[in-house]
């Protein structure tokens, strides 16, 4: 891990001593949100920071994060733009654009225009200020009870995106959220939170993209809360390209009503310590949920993915596909659990995790888990860990293809399934490019594939 020296910063404080700061910050918040934030803060305090003895944190050591002297983003003067970072706009996406710098909304860089009718988009700070009824109803309501970082995020909630699509509206324009981290000399801690509400029979694509100034140390504790009404259809992308020295802990929590469809795609590239919690609850019957992800740690990066797919309604269909490509001394964790509640009959749940180890020193931990309380269900899970198939490599080599090219082709093929599950063409193309850019020899095959 990168050595950290930020003890000289005066306002800096450690994660364990966030309580006092949070209480002061809550006291200045609009009155309606104070009880919610206080409740979450109490949970954060009661649970305390995770340690290796906890089952859910057995393989992930957050000591480097605990030792970090953090500067809460809200104590910094608001920045309208970043000198060192440009907005990594996804050109062909033609999306509504919200830009955040160190977790706070930048009006200047954002472009909330040409909104389809029935779609409300604003930054969450404004929505909280206005005390919108939907925000009061849903904000912090879905946070997982035993996730301490979800509680911390909710206790510190200030800004992020608020999106609401009204009944029957199918938004053709995606909404893109760009989170830029430019912390300067201090290790900034930001707690962005997104609230996405899709009412009955609505449809939307949301993209979250996180980037940071290369080499800088900061902590992003991001959380996305999704509420989907009947037949609502959401395509969600999270592309994480933080600085390699950053700490990134994110959560995605979704509640699906009857016939709703959710596709949650995640690509993890950056961060020295990454924790990705995904927790959809299929409340209504006949829901459909796709959890699709790819993590590509290199160097000494550590990426920890925790999935919990909960089936409550009957006839639910969920599929989890997570793939990891590990190089150098990278480590990864996949812990996926399918929970089928009593009475969630006719559930069809599937979970797979595959890991490709490119180096002798890369480690993958995988724990695909089932927790089932209903008897008429179909649940399967599978996990694999291995290196490049030597026979396949030999096949390509024997045909005169250079080793580096051959390897790049095979690695790309391993990841291709993940990309193909993405419905948005611009996103798929973008992610393909981002992946190839990071593969040794990727530039040689970029034109061919």
């Amino acid at each position: 891990m990168t050595p950290i020296d930020s003890t000289t910063v005066s306002d800096a404080l450690r994660l364990e001593s966030f309580e006092t700061f949070a209480r002061e910050s809550i006291a200045q918040a609009p009155s309606w949100i104070r009880p919610l934030r206080t409740e979450q803060l109490e949970r954060f305090v009661a649970q305390g920071l995770p340690h290796a003895k906890l089952e859910a944190w057995r393989q992930t050591n957050i000591d480097p994060l605990k030792q970090l002297a953090l500067t809460p983003a809200s104590t910094l003067p608001p920045a309208e733009r970043s000198e060192r970072l440009a907005v990594p706009e996804i050109e062909s996406l033609d999306a509504v654009r919200l830009v955040f710098i160190n977790g706070r909304f930048s009006e200047e860089l954002s472009a909330i225009d040409r909104l389809p009718e029935g779609v409300t988009v604003m930054n969450l700070a404004r929505a909280i200020e206005q005390g919108l009824p939907e925000v009061r109803k849903h904000l912090t309501q879905s946070s997982e009870r035993d996730d301490v970082f979800a509680a911390l995020n909710a206790a510190m909630v200030e800004d992020g995106a608020y999106i609401r699509v009204r009944r029957g509206v199918c938004s053709q324009r995606p909404i893109a959220l760009y989170y830029l981290s430019d912390p300067g000399e201090q290790a900034v801690a930001a707690f962005p939170r997104n609230l996405i509400i899709l009412e009955e029979s609505s449809e939307l694509t949301v993209v979250e993209r996180y980037v940071g100034v290369a080499g800088s140390v900061y902590f992003n504790n991001a959380f996305t809360e999704i509420v989907q009404g009947r037949q609502a259809n959401l395509e969600h992308y999270r592309l994480q390209e933080e600085s390699d020295a950053a700490f990134h802990i994110c959560g995605l929590d979704a509640r699906l009503d009857r016939d709703a469809m959710l596709a949650a795609h995640t690509m993890l590239f950056g961060g020295q310590l990454v924790r990705n919690n995904i927790h959809p609850v299929l409340v209504g019957e006949n829901c459909d949920c796709l959890i699709n992800g790819l993590y590509v740690p290199t160097g000494r990066q550590h990426m920890d993915n925790h999935m919990r797919v909960e089936h409550v309604g009957t006839h639910g269909d969920s599929r989890q596909y997570y793939r990891g490509i590990l190089a150098d001394e990278a480590t990864s964790v996949f812990s996926g659990r399918i929970v089928v509640a009593k009475g969630a009959q006719k559930t069809d749940a599937k979970q797979t995790n595959a890991n490709l180890l490119l180096s002798e020193r890369a480690h993958a931990h995988t724990q695909p888990q089932l927790e089932i309380y209903a008897d008429d269900v179909k649940c399967t899970h599978g996990a694999t860990v291995g290196r490049l198939e030597q026979q396949q490599l030999f096949y390509l080599l024997s045909r005169g293809i250079e080793r580096i090219t051959a390897e790049a082709v095979l690695i790309y093929a391993f990841a291709a399934d993940t990309l193909e599950r993405m419905r948005s063409d611009p996103m798929r193309e973008l992610l393909k490019g981002e992946l190839l850019k990071r593969l040794p020899g990727g530039d040689r095959v970029a034109g061919v594939l």
């Binding site: 089952e55 009593k342 009475g343 009959q345 890991n355 180890l357 490119l358 180096s359 002798e360 020193r361 890369a362 480690h363 993958a364 931990h365 995988t366 724990q367 695909p368 888990q369 089932l370 927790e371 089932i372 309380y373 209903a374 008897d375 008429d376 269900v377 179909k378 649940c379 399967t380 899970h381 599978g382 996990a383 694999t384 860990v385 291995g386 290196r387």
Partner: protein, 482 residues
């Protein structure tokens, strides 16, 4: 299916077949655990000083350990008062030379269990080292084993007569400080079996021990140690039944297996302890540490188990694959019915090159039972070309039970090939229809399908156990049609 509800009810009300308490005067120590109790146990066994010291070391360590509570048990269990347990209980007579001297009541107990010692031995050629509560009362076929050079005796006897072997291997696989229950066992273990198979010897018969818990409020702390020297083979069978009682009983046994170069140990278990009544009251807590070490090249250890009893089963028979080309196997059928809970599985730790392991686990949940598979496959950095195949299937019968799968896969060598597959299903309506249409009764059809589901595991059991296993399975699941 109205009839299935009836059969489920009748099953739920079925009395535990082996529930009776034999009235024999036991010589018990007062409840509680402290240095004096440990010294007293050691003295009663006539143990040498090194053994007493080892026990005390374990006791002192145990006192510093917190009790673990991590297993996945939806119904939980009440706190165990370790000071209320009596740590030693022995049938009052000692120094038995032949079966005639055995308390007739004791022999009667075995009759009821269907183990007529003398007949069964002759018929099956099985040497039975019967453990009644904590002291071995009869060891037979000793002569035949002696001729082959095999040592098969109560561990207390081994401590006295083969101290060099016991001292060398006891605690070498499960150290005294291993875990809370193993440490407790190390301090207070009463008796158990010791097997030593010398170099190149193929043990001439299947070895078996019957454990039985008797005398109320007595925890059973068995200790088994099996050592197979280079090129030897031994198959060990263990089967259990326990009488009915109201208070939960703790059973914290330790089993250690040591397989040297080219040796093969096959360890089979049938566990049918009292599971508690309909509300889950009473019943045995089965918290056992079982571990085998493949110490040499090409050594081979296989665990086969059929678990139908106990209120709570919490154990992970493991294999440490140290030698190159060594092999570990785990075949398990676990049935939970009523309000039984099981958190069980295995650990395969690959250390040597070209090691391989196979895990086949079949969990059956019926009634309100909860069955959890938890297994670890660990490939260490030096374990080149390690291979693991894991299959864990669950079957749910009824809609109030649960089946859970928590595998841990930990790979530190990229040449490893690890596969994990799991599935959860119920008895298919089409399968039932097919059978019933051909005139097979509902119960027979369930039994047929369940047997098919478990076939891969049951086939691993030695012949002597396979018959009993089939019987036990169908009794356990009578009438529980989905």
């Amino acid at each position: 299916m109205p009839s299935s509800q009836e059969t489920i009810d009748s099953l739920a009300q079925r009395e535990y077949k082996y529930g009776f308490v034999t009235d024999i005067e036991s010589e018990s120590l007062p409840p509680g655990i402290n240095e004096d109790v440990v010294r007293a146990i050691s003295a009663k066994k006539g143990e040498p000083d090194w053994m007493t010291q080892w026990r005390l070391k374990a006791l002192n360590h145990w006192l510093t350990m917190p009790e673990p509570h991590w297993p996945f048990l939806p119904y939980g269990y009440g706190p165990i008062d370790y000071q209320a347990l009596s740590y030693y209980s022995a049938p009052k007579r000692d120094k038995l030379k032949s079966l005639d001297e055995v308390d007739p009541k004791l022999l009667e107990t075995y009759e009821k269990l269907g183990i007529p010692l003398n007949e069964q031995m002759a018929l099956a050629g099985v040497a039975v080292d019967a453990v009644f509560d904590s002291v071995s009362v009869a060891t037979t076929f000793k002569k035949k084993l002696e001729e082959a050079g095999v040592i098969f005796c109560p561990i207390s006897e081994a401590i006295r007569e083969h101290p060099e072997l016991v001292q060398k291997y006891l605690g070498s696989v499960v150290p005294y400080s291993d875990n809370y229950f193993a440490t407790l066992n190390s301090a207070v273990f009463s008796d158990g079996s010791f097997v030593y198979v010398p170099k190149g010897v193929r043990c001439p018969m299947e070895l078996s021990t019957y454990f039985r818990i008797n005398a109320q409020n007595t925890g059973q702390f068995e200790r088994t140690l099996i050592v197979a020297e280079e090129g030897s083979y031994v198959s060990y069978l263990e089967g259990c039944t326990a009488p009915m009682r109201d208070e939960n009983q703790l059973h914290a046994a330790v089993v250690e297996l040591v397989a040297m170069k080219d040796a093969h140990i096959k360890y089979s278990t049938i566990q049918n302890w009292y599971p508690g009544d309909e509300e889950g009251k009473g019943g045995i807590y089965n918290f056992v540490t079982k571990r085998g070490a493949c110490r040499g090249d090409r050594s081979h250890i296989s665990w086969t188990q059929l678990e139908t009893g106990s209120a709570i089963t919490w154990k992970y028979p493991s294999v440490i694959l140290q030698g190159d080309h060594s092999k570990g196997e785990f075949y398990s059928v676990a049935v939970t019915n009523g309000r039984q809970q099981a958190d069980t599985g295995t650990k395969m730790i690959h250390i040597g090159r070209d090691t391989s392991s196979t895990i086949v686990s079949k969990g059956i949940s019926a009634g309100q039972g909860h069955n959890t598979y938890r297994g670890l496959v660990k490939i260490n950095p030096g374990a080149e070309n390690a291979r693991n195949y894991t299959q864990c299937d669950s079957m749910l019968i009824g809609d109030r039970c649960g089946a859970h799968t928590f595998p841990y896969i930990d790979i530190k060598n990229p040449t490893a090939k690890v596969e994990h597959e799991a599935s959860t299903s119920k008895i298919g309506e089409d399968q039932m229809f097919y059978c019933k249409q051909r005139g097979i009764t509902e119960e027979d059809a369930v039994s047929l399908i369940v047997n098919g589901f478990c076939k891969k595991v049951l086939a691993e059991l030695p012949m002597e156990f396979a018959v009993e296993a089939n019987k036990l399975l169908s009794i356990s699941l009578e009438g529980s049609v989905g």
